[in-house]
Symmetry: C2
Subunit: 210 residues, 2 copies
């Protein structure tokens, strides 16, 4: 019961991997290069070198679910948005479906269900997330889609909300809280085919994401 | 039996609209602004002003099929690729499905079924076409996907090929030949759920695309 972590070397990815390791949750961190491996090996976290824009299939070996947290948000440049957030997510979903994985956990973005409602600068990124999410829903693999609000570097509170109504319009969530939410989702294996917005809030993660 | 032409003001779109008008094929040219209307009105072609990134639904009124030829290839910049080639195509497919249109004709691109096989510079664009095509296939609307090779401004020969084997590796096709191929497809109303590569070649269009 091992989770392949795609995007392990990202800001959310690293925090998630540390939490999973501490919790004894089996993961395999997918990294792009041998150089990226060291950080994970120092922490006793299994790794596999693979490429979202190249050889990918071997990374899935021995894994029964996948967590997609690659792509670093709307500011990496739209070429990378197309190759990683869109096409990388699609390739991973098609492989997960073909290989019969039990679940695909997607880190998407708030408003991804309606990109034209996002601020104009964020629309191209949000459109990529819309299309990747839609492809996942059309695939045969059971899935959970997590849609964080605007990401911050605040410390973990482990208290969250799942709607703007609940927060009075406050639209931020810390990467640390996202990482905790992902650990919950990875372990809540009976949770499938559902979607959650995620914001900093007042509720326990396990209660909010159920 | 009217075809909504999305991307009518593009290089292929304008040529297609002139051919359709000459053939007496009923079309409605969708344009972005009142200014773009004049060219079509001078030629007696019906138009509708709508926005692939905004109000779109009204454009479908009175149309029973849609031709998507918006987006001017891989050189418009990846932000526009995300908003037009990807998300615009997806919005149009979702509307066509919801409104029960009889067909959706998509102008895609050669290699769109395998973006990583495209030259590196073209991969982000090709990935957008992959995702838009996949979304269309997953939709409930009957469709035809046309995948031209590298576009040129040569004159129409009305002779085409549908594989690189057939052309000895020559990968170009004139926009004029694409426009003729689209007129054939628009009129071949029993043709559904199929896909063709398109190159300049030696065969009659009606024979090659059947």
């Amino acid at each position: 019961m091992t989770t392949l972590v795609i995007g392990a070397n990202g800001q959310i990815g690293r925090q998630f991997c540390e939490l999973a390791k501490a919790a004894g949750e089996p993961i395999k961190a997918m990294v792009r290069s041998e150089e990226q491996r060291a950080w994970f090996e120092e922490r006793g976290i299994d790794t596999v070198v693979a490429d979202l824009e190249g050889e990918l299939r071997h990374a899935f070996e021995g894994c029964d679910q996948v967590l997609f947290t690659a792509g670093s948000g709307p500011h990496t440049g739209p070429d990378k948005t197309l190759m990683i957030d869109l096409y990388g997510a699609i390739r991973a979903a098609d492989l997960a479906s073909e290989l019969g994985l039990s679940r695909y956990l997607m880190v998407s973005a708030m408003r991804a269900e309606d990109p034209l409602s996002a601020p104009e600068k964020l629309r191209p990124y949000t459109a990529a997330k819309f299309a990747a999410d839609a492809h996942l829903r059309h695939s045969r693999v059971p899935h959970v889609i997590l849609k964080p609000g605007r990401l911050t570097d605040e410390a973990a509170t482990r208290k969250v909300a799942t709607s703007l109504e609940e927060t009075g319009g406050e639209n931020t969530v810390s990467r640390a809280n996202v990482a905790h939410a992902l650990l919950h989702l990875v372990q809540a294996r009976t949770l499938v085919d559902c979607e959650f917005d995620l914001l900093d809030g007042e509720r326990e993660i396990a209660e909010a994401l159920s």
